[in-house]
Symmetry: C2
Subunit: 246 residues, 2 copies
DNA sequence: TGGTCCGTTTGATCTGGGTCAAGGCTCTGG
DNA sequence: CCAGAGCCTTGACCCAGATCAAACGGACCA
């Protein structure tokens, strides 16, 4: 609780490293961040922001998983992003939210009031710079996901999602990057379907198929073991291992 | 040729307004931009950059259309972005390209050498700021497209693409935002299929269907008339008119 | 004037994933 | 200990869009 989780600098007493914000901040800047910061918790399933709402804060996910979702008038939905701990939420310089944000699991957010955050950004170029980098990362991720949505089969989609979650998990689990990987699915079948542009029945069937074929092992419905990440990546149609394995 | 196309400031003698770069630059900054600027032309079909290549420039499309494409090892491709005149290419602060960029029609690019551009960015906060805004726009567009790819039917996909092209065209055609719209398709059926996650046969069939149903009129294979934009938007499943019509 | 090349259209057929429907687990609360 | 609610799985069937195949049409060239 008092030992840093990461070796990076953190803003004030915040238990996570804000990737976007304070990786390179000095003491004064951290203090300024602390002054405009507050925490907020959401229960699993709760909305955090609705598309079009005025957002008066930006922030980072501290724990739990949040999702970004687009919705059509007739109710069809597509998840367009997953927010894992340390991911940034919000659009400096923008009034409203562009999509619905909801808590997929219980979520703790570290928020910064938007106006003062933007002012701080103005006079702190490296924060603006870091924010640009981070937005470029998100753009890359979004465009990679467009390939998944547009061209991959249901089985490849599932494998891609599992690979992403495993990889993200690994970055939070020191020394985790081996061939065998174990993690918990933070999403229901329905949420996976929303992310993958599938129905929950197809998600369920394909997970069963991957299990039958020995690509994954399941303990209960959520706890996943991948005996060999390379095989999973092949199933994802993604031999370029995304920089994940040596 | 000597009269400005746009009423905005432009960098030096460049015939387009660089949305990202010089909308708010002063004379000194424009001069600095001019000093590191050069033009380059590409024929339709030519590659501009390959994914993974080191990019030593950033720039804007001056005329023509370029595409961003993701490719899988087995040859499946997904177009992840369209670059129309005034769109920005390149990733300040990044070494390599993340996707293939190719000229879809003949293209003229206005390029800035990357190193000096980044230096200029460092000491010119409003350029960095504008770049962030623009990247956020691209991110929004990418995420909107994820909904198209993941959840829309073939007919809706085609209608969405036509609506986007019409809208983009309108921004370049003063006074063009009426209900009736006329434009040329800058893409082959195959390129449309790549963008929409379909096959070219399906694209062709759905275009024929939209024509049969009177949503669009075709003169040759490329010249499109939309008698009533609202009907097209409905077909796109996108009643929120994207800020296009009053 | 007639190839031939390339993008496009159209037809016939097949199939992956959607839809509808019926249970099966597992946790919670009475 | 049972009932109910949420998820999840599995089966049967269907359809939108993929695949395979043929032919069209306009631009270019000999």
């Amino acid at each position: 609780m008092n030992a840093p989780i990461m070796s990076q600098s953190r803003c004030g007493d915040c238990p996570i490293r804000h990737r976007a914000v304070c990786a390179r901040c000095n003491a004064d800047e951290l203090e300024a961040l602390d002054a405009i910061k507050y925490y907020r918790t959401y229960e699993a399933g709760q909305p955090i922001i609705w598309s079009g709402d005025v957002m008066n804060f930006v922030g980072s996910v501290v724990s739990g998983i949040a999702s970004l979702t687009q919705t059509m008038e007739d109710g069809r939905t597509q998840m367009v992003g997953l927010l894992l701990p340390s991911d940034f939420v919000g659009r400096p310089g923008r009034e409203g939210a562009a999509y619905d944000v909801a808590a997929t699991t219980d979520v703790v957010m570290c928020c910064f009031r938007k106006k003062p955050f933007e002012e701080l950004m103005e006079r702190t170029p490296h924060i603006a710079h870091r924010l640009l980098e981070m937005t470029l990362d998100e753009l890359d991720a979004a465009r990679e996901w467009m390939l998944v949505l547009g061209r991959k089969t249901a089985r490849e989609k599932i494998a891609s999602l599992l690979a992403i979650i495993a990889r993200r998990d690994a970055t939070l689990t020191p020394g985790g990057a081996t061939n065998r990987m174990v993690f918990d699915l933070p999403l229901t079948r329905e949420a996976m379907a929303d992310y993958l542009g599938l129905t929950l029945e197809t998600v369920s069937r394909q997970i069963s198929a991957l299990k039958r074929d020995g690509i994954i092992e399941l303990e209960g419905k959520r706890h996943v073991t991948v005996p060999d990440m390379r095989r999973l990546m092949e199933e994802a149609g993604d031999d370029s291992d995304g920089g994940f394995l040596g």
